[in-house]
Protein backbone atom coordinates (compact mmCIF):
# COMPACT_ATOMS: atom_id res chain seq x y z
CA UNK A 1 0.00 0.00 0.00
CA UNK A 2 1.75 3.13 -1.26
CA UNK A 3 -0.45 5.77 0.34
CA UNK A 4 -2.71 5.49 3.32
CA UNK A 5 -4.86 8.47 2.43
CA UNK A 6 -6.52 9.98 -0.61
CA UNK A 7 -7.15 13.55 -1.69
CA UNK A 8 -10.11 13.57 -4.06
CA UNK A 9 -9.65 16.99 -5.66
CA UNK A 10 -6.61 19.28 -5.94
CA UNK A 11 -8.62 22.09 -4.26
CA UNK A 12 -9.24 20.02 -1.11
CA UNK A 13 -7.76 20.97 2.28
CA UNK A 14 -8.54 17.56 3.79
CA UNK A 15 -7.58 14.00 2.87
CA UNK A 16 -9.43 10.77 3.72
CA UNK A 17 -7.76 7.82 5.48
CA UNK A 18 -7.81 4.58 3.45
CA UNK A 19 -6.79 2.58 6.51
CA UNK A 20 -6.58 3.32 10.26
CA UNK A 21 -3.75 5.84 10.75
CA UNK A 22 -1.95 6.11 14.07
CA UNK A 23 -0.95 9.32 15.83
CA UNK A 24 2.57 10.51 14.87
CA UNK A 25 2.51 8.34 11.74
CA UNK A 26 3.86 10.06 8.60
CA UNK A 27 1.38 9.55 5.79
CA UNK A 28 2.08 9.94 2.10
CA UNK A 29 -0.85 11.15 0.08
CA UNK A 30 -1.18 10.57 -3.62
CA UNK A 31 -2.52 13.91 -4.79
CA UNK A 32 -1.50 15.69 -7.98
CA UNK A 33 1.78 16.15 -6.10
CA UNK A 34 2.97 13.72 -3.43
CA UNK A 35 2.34 15.12 0.04
CA UNK A 36 3.78 13.92 3.30
CA UNK A 37 1.73 14.69 6.42
CA UNK A 38 2.37 13.70 10.04
CA UNK A 39 -0.85 12.62 11.77
CA UNK A 40 -1.47 14.60 14.97
CA UNK A 41 -4.09 12.13 16.21
CA UNK A 42 -5.44 8.69 15.35
CA UNK A 43 -7.43 8.88 12.10
CA UNK A 44 -9.85 5.97 11.61
CA UNK A 45 -10.53 4.52 8.13
CA UNK A 46 -12.87 6.77 6.15
CA UNK A 47 -12.23 9.81 8.38
CA UNK A 48 -10.62 13.07 7.30
CA UNK A 49 -7.55 15.00 8.42
CA UNK A 50 -6.22 18.43 7.52
CA UNK A 51 -3.45 18.59 4.92
CA UNK A 52 -2.72 22.22 5.81
CA UNK A 53 -3.41 24.54 8.73
CA UNK A 54 -7.04 25.69 8.67
CA UNK A 55 -8.05 28.75 10.66
CA UNK A 56 -11.31 29.14 12.58
CA UNK A 57 -14.16 30.08 10.25
CA UNK A 58 -12.34 28.79 7.17
CA UNK A 59 -14.20 26.54 4.74
CA UNK A 60 -13.50 22.81 4.69
CA UNK A 61 -13.10 21.66 1.09
CA UNK A 62 -13.53 18.05 -0.09
CA UNK A 63 -14.50 16.95 -3.62
CA UNK A 64 -13.40 20.48 -4.57
CA UNK A 65 -16.53 21.82 -2.82
CA UNK A 66 -17.33 23.33 0.56
CA UNK A 67 -18.56 20.63 2.96
CA UNK A 68 -18.61 22.84 6.09
CA UNK A 69 -16.74 25.42 8.17
CA UNK A 70 -14.04 25.10 10.85
CA UNK A 71 -15.40 26.05 14.28
CA UNK A 72 -11.89 26.10 15.75
CA UNK A 73 -8.37 26.25 14.47
CA UNK A 74 -7.30 22.96 12.88
CA UNK A 75 -3.62 22.17 12.44
CA UNK A 76 -2.09 20.15 9.62
CA UNK A 77 -2.45 16.41 10.37
CA UNK A 78 -5.33 16.89 12.80
CA UNK A 79 -8.56 14.86 12.66
CA UNK A 80 -11.33 16.86 10.92
CA UNK A 81 -14.82 15.86 12.05
CA UNK A 82 -17.92 17.02 13.95
CA UNK A 83 -15.79 18.27 16.90
CA UNK A 84 -14.18 20.99 14.79
CA UNK A 85 -16.46 21.39 11.75
CA UNK A 86 -20.02 22.60 11.35
CA UNK A 87 -22.35 22.18 8.41
CA UNK A 88 -23.53 25.26 6.55
CA UNK A 89 -26.85 23.42 6.08
CA UNK A 90 -28.02 21.15 8.90
CA UNK A 91 -26.40 18.68 11.28
CA UNK A 92 -28.01 15.35 11.97
CA UNK A 93 -26.54 14.72 15.39
CA UNK A 94 -27.78 18.12 16.65
CA UNK A 95 -31.25 17.47 15.21
CA UNK A 96 -31.27 14.00 16.77
CA UNK A 97 -30.15 15.37 20.19
CA UNK A 98 -32.96 17.94 20.16
CA UNK A 99 -35.48 15.20 19.48
Amino acid sequence: MKSKAIMVNPKDNVATALIDIKKEEVVEIRAPTLLSIKAKSNIPFGHKFAIKDISKGEEIVKYGEVIGRAIKEIREGEHVHIHNVESLRARGDVVAAKQ
Partner: protein
Protein backbone atom coordinates in the same frame (compact mmCIF):
# COMPACT_ATOMS: atom_id res chain seq x y z
CA UNK B 1 -11.35 8.26 -28.63
CA UNK B 2 -13.46 6.07 -30.92
CA UNK B 3 -15.77 3.08 -30.61
CA UNK B 4 -17.51 0.72 -33.01
CA UNK B 5 -21.27 1.11 -33.14
CA UNK B 6 -24.40 0.69 -35.22
CA UNK B 7 -25.76 3.72 -37.09
CA UNK B 8 -29.48 4.23 -36.42
CA UNK B 9 -31.86 6.84 -37.78
CA UNK B 10 -31.41 8.84 -34.59
CA UNK B 11 -28.11 8.07 -32.87
CA UNK B 12 -25.59 5.26 -32.62
CA UNK B 13 -26.18 1.91 -30.93
CA UNK B 14 -23.50 -0.06 -29.10
CA UNK B 15 -25.70 -3.16 -29.28
CA UNK B 16 -27.99 -4.52 -31.99
CA UNK B 17 -30.82 -5.96 -29.94
CA UNK B 18 -34.26 -7.16 -30.93
CA UNK B 19 -36.46 -6.21 -27.98
CA UNK B 20 -39.56 -7.99 -26.71
CA UNK B 21 -41.39 -5.38 -24.64
CA UNK B 22 -44.69 -5.91 -22.84
CA UNK B 23 -46.83 -2.78 -22.81
CA UNK B 24 -48.60 -3.83 -19.62
CA UNK B 25 -47.54 -5.97 -16.67
CA UNK B 26 -50.31 -8.54 -17.36
CA UNK B 27 -48.75 -9.40 -20.74
CA UNK B 28 -45.35 -10.14 -19.21
CA UNK B 29 -45.87 -13.89 -19.27
CA UNK B 30 -46.53 -13.91 -23.02
CA UNK B 31 -43.43 -11.77 -23.59
CA UNK B 32 -41.39 -14.23 -21.51
CA UNK B 33 -42.71 -17.16 -23.54
CA UNK B 34 -41.66 -15.47 -26.78
CA UNK B 35 -38.20 -14.72 -25.34
CA UNK B 36 -37.76 -18.39 -24.37
CA UNK B 37 -38.16 -19.28 -28.05
CA UNK B 38 -35.67 -16.55 -29.06
CA UNK B 39 -32.70 -16.57 -26.68
CA UNK B 40 -30.87 -13.91 -28.72
CA UNK B 41 -33.65 -11.33 -28.29
CA UNK B 42 -33.88 -9.14 -25.18
CA UNK B 43 -36.86 -9.46 -22.87
CA UNK B 44 -38.24 -6.33 -21.20
CA UNK B 45 -40.93 -7.06 -18.63
CA UNK B 46 -42.22 -4.29 -16.34
CA UNK B 47 -45.34 -4.06 -14.16
CA UNK B 48 -47.10 -0.85 -15.23
CA UNK B 49 -49.42 0.21 -18.04
CA UNK B 50 -52.90 -0.22 -16.58
CA UNK B 51 -55.16 0.99 -13.74
CA UNK B 52 -53.12 4.13 -13.20
CA UNK B 53 -54.04 7.82 -13.37
CA UNK B 54 -54.26 9.32 -16.91
CA UNK B 55 -51.09 11.30 -16.11
CA UNK B 56 -49.18 8.11 -15.30
CA UNK B 57 -50.61 6.25 -18.30
CA UNK B 58 -49.36 8.98 -20.65
CA UNK B 59 -46.04 8.86 -18.81
CA UNK B 60 -45.76 5.04 -19.16
CA UNK B 61 -46.56 5.34 -22.89
CA UNK B 62 -43.74 7.89 -23.26
CA UNK B 63 -41.28 5.61 -21.46
CA UNK B 64 -42.31 2.57 -23.58
CA UNK B 65 -41.74 4.59 -26.78
CA UNK B 66 -38.41 6.00 -25.57
CA UNK B 67 -37.13 2.59 -24.36
CA UNK B 68 -37.85 1.21 -27.82
CA UNK B 69 -36.13 4.17 -29.48
CA UNK B 70 -32.92 3.58 -27.52
CA UNK B 71 -30.27 3.28 -30.26
CA UNK B 72 -29.14 -0.12 -28.92
CA UNK B 73 -32.48 -1.52 -30.16
CA UNK B 74 -32.69 -2.71 -33.76
CA UNK B 75 -36.40 -3.63 -33.80
CA UNK B 76 -39.21 -4.20 -31.31
CA UNK B 77 -42.07 -6.60 -30.68
CA UNK B 78 -44.68 -5.04 -28.40
CA UNK B 79 -46.65 -7.59 -26.40
CA UNK B 80 -49.99 -6.24 -25.20
CA UNK B 81 -52.94 -7.76 -23.43
CA UNK B 82 -55.69 -5.99 -25.38
CA UNK B 83 -57.66 -4.18 -22.68
CA UNK B 84 -54.80 -2.25 -21.03
CA UNK B 85 -55.01 1.50 -20.35
CA UNK B 86 -51.93 2.34 -22.39
CA UNK B 87 -52.57 2.39 -26.12
CA UNK B 88 -50.27 -0.28 -27.50
CA UNK B 89 -51.13 0.88 -31.04
CA UNK B 90 -50.27 4.50 -30.23
CA UNK B 91 -46.93 3.36 -28.77
CA UNK B 92 -46.27 1.27 -31.91
CA UNK B 93 -47.15 4.16 -34.24
CA UNK B 94 -44.62 6.42 -32.54
CA UNK B 95 -41.86 3.77 -32.63
CA UNK B 96 -42.56 2.99 -36.31
CA UNK B 97 -41.34 6.44 -37.32
CA UNK B 98 -37.80 5.32 -36.46
CA UNK B 99 -37.64 1.54 -36.50
CA UNK B 100 -39.39 -1.73 -37.30
CA UNK B 101 -42.08 -2.56 -34.74
CA UNK B 102 -44.77 -5.26 -34.57
CA UNK B 103 -47.59 -5.91 -32.10
CA UNK B 104 -49.10 -9.08 -30.68
CA UNK B 105 -52.01 -9.05 -28.20
CA UNK B 106 -52.83 -11.91 -25.83
CA UNK B 107 -56.59 -11.23 -25.91
CA UNK B 108 -56.62 -11.46 -29.74
CA UNK B 109 -54.93 -14.84 -29.88
CA UNK B 110 -54.83 -16.58 -26.54
CA UNK B 111 -51.50 -17.12 -24.81
CA UNK B 112 -50.33 -20.12 -26.86
CA UNK B 113 -51.00 -18.58 -30.29
CA UNK B 114 -49.67 -15.18 -29.16
CA UNK B 115 -46.39 -16.86 -28.21
CA UNK B 116 -46.19 -18.76 -31.52
CA UNK B 117 -47.02 -15.66 -33.58
CA UNK B 118 -44.71 -13.40 -31.58
CA UNK B 119 -41.87 -15.93 -31.74
CA UNK B 120 -42.05 -16.04 -35.55
CA UNK B 121 -41.98 -12.24 -35.76
CA UNK B 122 -38.97 -12.02 -33.43
CA UNK B 123 -37.13 -14.76 -35.34
CA UNK B 124 -37.46 -12.73 -38.55
CA UNK B 125 -36.34 -9.56 -36.76
CA UNK B 126 -33.25 -11.36 -35.39
CA UNK B 127 -32.33 -12.54 -38.91
CA UNK B 128 -32.83 -9.02 -40.24
CA UNK B 129 -30.64 -7.57 -37.46
CA UNK B 130 -27.76 -9.80 -38.60
CA UNK B 131 -27.38 -7.53 -41.66
CA UNK B 132 -26.26 -4.56 -39.54
CA UNK B 133 -22.53 -3.86 -39.40
CA UNK B 134 -20.51 -1.82 -36.92
CA UNK B 135 -18.60 1.28 -37.99
CA UNK B 136 -16.38 3.80 -36.19
CA UNK B 137 -17.79 6.67 -34.16
CA UNK B 138 -16.25 9.21 -31.82
CA UNK B 139 -17.03 9.47 -28.13
CA UNK B 140 -19.21 12.49 -28.96
CA UNK B 141 -21.87 9.96 -30.10
CA UNK B 142 -21.97 8.35 -26.68
CA UNK B 143 -24.54 8.99 -23.97
CA UNK B 144 -23.29 7.54 -20.70
CA UNK B 145 -25.54 7.25 -17.65
CA UNK B 146 -23.77 7.29 -14.29
CA UNK B 147 -25.23 5.75 -11.16
CA UNK B 148 -24.09 4.45 -7.80
CA UNK B 149 -25.67 1.77 -5.66
CA UNK B 150 -24.94 -0.55 -2.73
CA UNK B 151 -22.50 2.20 -1.70
CA UNK B 152 -20.00 2.13 1.15
CA UNK B 153 -17.12 4.33 2.35
CA UNK B 154 -15.03 3.36 -0.68
CA UNK B 155 -17.74 4.66 -3.07
CA UNK B 156 -17.30 8.24 -1.88
CA UNK B 157 -13.52 8.16 -1.98
CA UNK B 158 -12.69 5.89 -4.92
CA UNK B 159 -15.31 4.73 -7.42
CA UNK B 160 -17.53 7.86 -7.41
CA UNK B 161 -14.62 10.33 -7.77
CA UNK B 162 -13.24 8.13 -10.58
CA UNK B 163 -16.68 8.19 -12.26
CA UNK B 164 -16.60 12.00 -11.94
CA UNK B 165 -13.36 12.18 -13.91
CA UNK B 166 -14.89 9.86 -16.52
CA UNK B 167 -17.97 12.11 -16.76
CA UNK B 168 -15.75 15.15 -17.33
CA UNK B 169 -13.80 13.34 -20.04
CA UNK B 170 -16.94 12.19 -21.91
CA UNK B 171 -18.34 15.74 -21.82
CA UNK B 172 -14.98 17.18 -22.90
CA UNK B 173 -15.03 14.83 -25.93
CA UNK B 174 -18.47 16.15 -26.91
CA UNK B 175 -20.58 13.32 -25.48
CA UNK B 176 -23.48 13.30 -23.03
CA UNK B 177 -23.57 12.22 -19.39
CA UNK B 178 -26.89 11.62 -17.62
CA UNK B 179 -27.34 11.18 -13.90
CA UNK B 180 -30.41 11.02 -11.66
CA UNK B 181 -31.16 9.84 -8.11
CA UNK B 182 -33.02 12.98 -7.01
CA UNK B 183 -32.97 11.87 -3.37
CA UNK B 184 -29.17 11.70 -3.37
CA UNK B 185 -28.86 15.35 -4.34
CA UNK B 186 -30.60 16.55 -1.15
CA UNK B 187 -28.04 18.47 0.93
CA UNK B 188 -25.81 19.43 -1.96
CA UNK B 189 -28.45 20.81 -4.34
CA UNK B 190 -27.05 24.34 -3.89
CA UNK B 191 -23.68 23.12 -5.18
CA UNK B 192 -25.24 21.37 -8.17
CA UNK B 193 -27.52 24.34 -8.88
CA UNK B 194 -24.45 26.61 -9.04
CA UNK B 195 -23.22 24.45 -11.92
CA UNK B 196 -26.46 24.97 -13.90
CA UNK B 197 -26.09 26.75 -17.22
CA UNK B 198 -28.94 29.16 -16.42
CA UNK B 199 -31.68 29.94 -13.92
CA UNK B 200 -34.22 27.86 -15.82
CA UNK B 201 -32.14 24.69 -15.34
CA UNK B 202 -31.37 25.42 -11.66
CA UNK B 203 -35.08 26.15 -11.03
CA UNK B 204 -36.02 22.82 -12.64
CA UNK B 205 -33.48 21.01 -10.46
CA UNK B 206 -34.80 22.64 -7.26
CA UNK B 207 -38.39 21.80 -8.31
CA UNK B 208 -37.63 18.12 -8.85
CA UNK B 209 -36.03 17.92 -5.40
CA UNK B 210 -38.85 19.83 -3.73
CA UNK B 211 -41.50 17.61 -5.34
CA UNK B 212 -39.66 14.45 -4.28
CA UNK B 213 -39.44 15.75 -0.70
CA UNK B 214 -43.12 16.75 -0.73
CA UNK B 215 -44.14 13.24 -1.76
CA UNK B 216 -42.10 11.85 1.15
CA UNK B 217 -43.57 14.48 3.51
CA UNK B 218 -47.09 13.38 2.47
CA UNK B 219 -46.15 9.98 3.92
CA UNK B 220 -44.86 11.66 7.10
CA UNK B 221 -41.18 11.24 6.21
CA UNK B 222 -38.62 14.06 6.37
CA UNK B 223 -35.77 13.08 4.04
CA UNK B 224 -33.56 15.89 5.33
CA UNK B 225 -33.98 15.27 9.06
CA UNK B 226 -31.29 13.37 10.93
CA UNK B 227 -28.72 13.61 8.13
CA UNK B 228 -25.96 12.55 8.23
CA UNK B 229 -27.02 9.57 10.33
CA UNK B 230 -25.15 8.37 13.41
CA UNK B 231 -23.72 5.55 11.32
CA UNK B 232 -22.51 8.03 8.68
CA UNK B 233 -20.78 10.12 11.37
CA UNK B 234 -19.11 7.03 12.82
CA UNK B 235 -17.93 6.19 9.31
CA UNK B 236 -16.29 9.61 8.97
CA UNK B 237 -18.97 11.69 7.25
CA UNK B 238 -19.16 15.07 9.00
CA UNK B 239 -21.93 17.02 7.23
CA UNK B 240 -24.95 16.48 4.96
CA UNK B 241 -23.07 18.38 2.23
CA UNK B 242 -20.23 15.87 2.43
CA UNK B 243 -22.63 12.90 2.34
CA UNK B 244 -24.46 14.16 -0.76
CA UNK B 245 -21.23 15.20 -2.45
CA UNK B 246 -19.92 11.66 -1.97
CA UNK B 247 -22.70 10.59 -4.33
CA UNK B 248 -22.86 13.53 -6.73
CA UNK B 249 -19.10 13.78 -7.21
CA UNK B 250 -19.71 11.02 -9.77
CA UNK B 251 -21.15 13.75 -12.04
CA UNK B 252 -17.75 15.43 -12.35
CA UNK B 253 -17.36 19.17 -12.59
CA UNK B 254 -18.84 20.32 -15.89
CA UNK B 255 -21.78 22.68 -16.42
CA UNK B 256 -25.24 21.21 -15.87
CA UNK B 257 -26.79 21.72 -19.31
CA UNK B 258 -30.32 20.51 -18.59
CA UNK B 259 -32.65 18.90 -16.07
CA UNK B 260 -35.32 16.62 -17.56
CA UNK B 261 -38.31 14.51 -16.54
CA UNK B 262 -37.97 10.79 -15.87
CA UNK B 263 -37.65 8.87 -19.15
CA UNK B 264 -37.47 11.95 -21.39
CA UNK B 265 -35.34 11.49 -24.47
CA UNK B 266 -32.19 13.58 -24.04
CA UNK B 267 -30.89 15.45 -27.10
CA UNK B 268 -28.40 17.75 -25.32
CA UNK B 269 -24.63 17.32 -25.36
CA UNK B 270 -23.05 17.74 -21.94
CA UNK B 271 -24.14 16.90 -18.40
CA UNK B 272 -27.88 16.32 -17.86
CA UNK B 273 -29.87 15.60 -14.69
CA UNK B 274 -32.89 13.28 -14.94
CA UNK B 275 -35.50 13.26 -12.14
CA UNK B 276 -35.49 9.68 -10.84
CA UNK B 277 -35.45 7.57 -7.71
CA UNK B 278 -32.24 5.82 -6.74
CA UNK B 279 -33.76 2.33 -6.89
CA UNK B 280 -32.00 0.37 -9.62
CA UNK B 281 -35.04 -1.03 -11.47
CA UNK B 282 -36.56 2.40 -12.10
CA UNK B 283 -33.31 4.37 -12.40
CA UNK B 284 -31.76 2.10 -15.05
CA UNK B 285 -35.06 2.04 -16.98
CA UNK B 286 -35.22 5.85 -16.95
CA UNK B 287 -31.64 6.12 -18.21
CA UNK B 288 -32.30 3.60 -21.00
CA UNK B 289 -35.40 5.57 -22.05
CA UNK B 290 -33.38 8.79 -22.07
CA UNK B 291 -31.23 7.22 -24.81
CA UNK B 292 -28.14 6.17 -22.80
CA UNK B 293 -26.31 3.42 -24.72
CA UNK B 294 -24.02 2.65 -21.79
CA UNK B 295 -24.16 2.92 -18.01
CA UNK B 296 -21.34 3.22 -15.50
CA UNK B 297 -22.42 1.91 -12.12
CA UNK B 298 -20.19 2.57 -9.12
CA UNK B 299 -20.63 0.25 -6.15
CA UNK B 300 -19.04 -0.47 -2.79
CA UNK B 301 -20.78 -3.64 -1.66
CA UNK B 302 -21.19 -5.09 -5.14
CA UNK B 303 -24.57 -4.29 -6.77
CA UNK B 304 -24.96 -6.84 -9.59
CA UNK B 305 -27.84 -5.29 -11.60
CA UNK B 306 -27.76 -4.98 -15.37
CA UNK B 307 -30.32 -3.88 -17.94
CA UNK B 308 -31.73 -5.90 -20.87
CA UNK B 309 -30.74 -3.55 -23.72
CA UNK B 310 -27.94 -1.43 -22.24
CA UNK B 311 -24.53 -2.65 -21.03
CA UNK B 312 -24.05 -1.65 -17.38
CA UNK B 313 -20.39 -1.52 -16.32
CA UNK B 314 -19.71 -2.02 -12.61
CA UNK B 315 -16.78 -0.37 -10.87
CA UNK B 316 -15.70 -0.76 -7.27
CA UNK B 317 -12.92 0.55 -5.06
CA UNK B 318 -13.60 -1.99 -2.32
CA UNK B 319 -10.87 -4.66 -2.55
CA UNK B 320 -12.93 -7.30 -0.69
CA UNK B 321 -15.91 -6.76 -3.02
CA UNK B 322 -13.73 -6.94 -6.14
CA UNK B 323 -12.20 -10.19 -4.95
CA UNK B 324 -15.49 -11.79 -3.85
CA UNK B 325 -17.59 -10.63 -6.80
CA UNK B 326 -15.29 -10.72 -9.83
CA UNK B 327 -18.30 -12.33 -11.55
CA UNK B 328 -20.13 -8.98 -11.35
CA UNK B 329 -17.48 -6.25 -11.10
CA UNK B 330 -16.08 -5.14 -14.47
CA UNK B 331 -13.59 -2.66 -13.05
CA UNK B 332 -11.50 -3.48 -10.02
CA UNK B 333 -10.35 -0.11 -8.66
CA UNK B 334 -8.61 -1.66 -5.63
CA UNK B 335 -5.30 -0.21 -6.80
CA UNK B 336 -6.75 3.29 -6.49
CA UNK B 337 -7.95 2.41 -3.00
CA UNK B 338 -4.45 1.18 -2.08
CA UNK B 339 -2.90 4.35 -3.48
CA UNK B 340 -0.97 2.50 -6.21
CA UNK B 341 -2.96 4.31 -8.89
CA UNK B 342 -4.22 7.90 -8.93
CA UNK B 343 -7.85 8.78 -9.54
CA UNK B 344 -6.81 9.99 -13.03
CA UNK B 345 -5.25 6.57 -13.75
CA UNK B 346 -8.47 4.93 -12.54
CA UNK B 347 -10.39 7.16 -14.95
CA UNK B 348 -8.21 5.97 -17.86
CA UNK B 349 -8.91 2.33 -16.90
CA UNK B 350 -12.67 2.98 -16.87
CA UNK B 351 -12.69 4.89 -20.17
CA UNK B 352 -10.71 2.14 -21.83
CA UNK B 353 -13.22 -0.46 -20.63
CA UNK B 354 -16.18 1.71 -21.74
CA UNK B 355 -14.77 1.89 -25.28
CA UNK B 356 -14.13 -1.88 -25.32
CA UNK B 357 -17.59 -2.76 -24.01
CA UNK B 358 -19.18 -0.27 -26.42
CA UNK B 359 -17.35 -1.86 -29.35
CA UNK B 360 -17.44 -5.59 -28.70
CA UNK B 361 -16.76 -6.81 -25.19
CA UNK B 362 -19.70 -8.07 -23.10
CA UNK B 363 -20.11 -6.44 -19.70
CA UNK B 364 -20.13 -8.77 -16.69
CA UNK B 365 -23.90 -8.28 -16.30
CA UNK B 366 -24.35 -9.39 -19.94
CA UNK B 367 -21.99 -12.34 -19.46
CA UNK B 368 -23.76 -13.73 -16.41
CA UNK B 369 -27.20 -12.68 -17.69
CA UNK B 370 -28.06 -10.42 -14.72
CA UNK B 371 -30.09 -8.15 -16.94
CA UNK B 372 -33.66 -7.93 -15.70
CA UNK B 373 -33.43 -4.76 -13.61
CA UNK B 374 -36.31 -3.02 -15.31
CA UNK B 375 -39.44 -1.23 -14.14
CA UNK B 376 -41.12 2.08 -14.88
CA UNK B 377 -41.22 4.80 -12.20
CA UNK B 378 -44.59 6.51 -11.72
CA UNK B 379 -45.97 8.94 -9.17
CA UNK B 380 -49.71 8.42 -8.67
CA UNK B 381 -51.81 5.71 -7.03
CA UNK B 382 -52.51 2.30 -8.53
CA UNK B 383 -56.25 2.22 -9.14
Amino acid sequence: MDFLGFQRKNGVGVRNHVAILCTVGCAGQAARGIAQNNPKAKLMVHHQGCAQTPVDIAHVEKVLVNLSLNPNVHSVLLVGLGCESVSTQKVADKISKEKHVEVVNVEDEGLTRAIVKGSEVVKKMCLDAENEKRSTFSLSELTLAIKCGASDTTSGIVSNPVAGYVADKVVEEGGTVIFGETTEVIGAEHILARRAINKDVSDKLYNYIENMEKRAMAMGVDMRGGQPTGGNIKGGITTIEEKSLGAICKTGSTTLINAVDYGDRVHDKGLVFMDSPGRELEALTGFAASGAQMMLFSTGLGAPQGFPIVPVIKSSGNPATCKRLSEHIDLDLSRVFYGDLSIEDGCKMVLNEILKVASWKPSKAELVGYEESIDIYFRGPVI
